[in-house]
């Protein structure tokens, strides 16, 4: 494995935050540089940074498009919201990991924030 030791990976995030993997199991070594929590697409477009995970309850196709355009490391859908088939297909196509959290956005973001800040 060529991943740097200091980088927090999606794999660690999935394990430590207890997330589900809807797709992107082959992308787990990708580094996570931070997170951005928002359900406003223009806010994410304007302010999220490459490598961040996006925490949201929006689960439609445009979420995948934006995450891919912004080169985010993954999308975390909160409250057990599941992506539908078309969204999964597009995420696989774009190589974007879609993850799921059983918790609401506040708790999910809190957990991920804590994990990333321990690094």
């Amino acid at each position: 494995m060529m991943t740097e030791k200091s980088t927090f990976t999606i794999e660690e995030l999935v394990e430590k935050a207890g997330l589900q993997i809807y797709c992107g199991a082959d992308k787990l070594k990708t580094g996570v540089t931070g997170g951005y929590a928002s359900d406003l697409l223009s806010d994410v477009m304007g302010n999220a940074r490459e490598g961040q995970v996006w925490i949201t309850l929006q689960s439609h196709l445009n979420v995948v498009a934006i995450a891919s355009l912004k080169e985010l490391s993954a999308v975390v859908l909160v409250k057990d919201i599941r992506p539908d088939e078309a969204v999964l297909v597009k995420a696989v196509e774009e190589g974007l990991p879609l993850l799921g959290s059983a918790l609401p956005a506040f708790e999910t973001a809190g957990k991920i924030f804590e994990l990333l800040n321990k690094e």
Binding site: L40, L41, S42, M45, G46, T56, L61, A65, I66, K70
Partner: protein
């Protein structure tokens, strides 16, 4: 290099395709990542505005060695008060569009922030033209 794309009002499935295509071209041309990001944000918001607010639009992208010039022209309701439309938070987006997370009223501000030159003209009842010019050299 000249590229053209079409955007259809209400079509959120295909909104973003032009941005994705232009991003790919700029990457191939080895344009600095930070400069590509600006173009992508600005173009994406312009595309979404046609999908959200107009009937149909044409996108013209001229890529030269030192700059990219984008012109998005739509037929649609146009904008009565551009100054008002530019204000962050102002939006006339429909409830459905807002529920998708669009319609935060930050789009035009995002375009302006991510353009070196930004022009918008509109004829109410006819349509809107947005021009975005970004330098591709530091």
């Amino acid at each position: 290099m000249l590229q053209t794309y079409k955007v259809t009002g209400g079509d959120f499935v295909n909104a973003g395709k032009a941005s994705s295509s232009v991003k790919g071209i700029l990457k191939q041309l080895n344009v600095l990542a930070g400069l590509i990001k600006r173009v992508v944000v600005a173009l994406y918001e312009a595309e979404v505005n046609v999908a959200a607010h107009a009937y149909s639009g044409n996108i013209l992208v001229e890529i030269e060695s030192d700059q990219v010039r984008i012109r998005v022209t739509d037929s649609g309701p146009g904008i009565e008060d551009i100054q008002m439309a530019m204000k962050e938070g102002f939006s006339t987006a429909s409830k459905e569009v807002r529920e998708m997370g669009f319609g935060a009223g930050m789009g035009l501000a995002n375009i302006k922030k991510n353009s070196d030159t930004f022009n918008i003209t509109s004829v109410p009842g006819e349509g809107t033209t947005v021009e975005i010019i970004n330098k591709l050299t530091d």
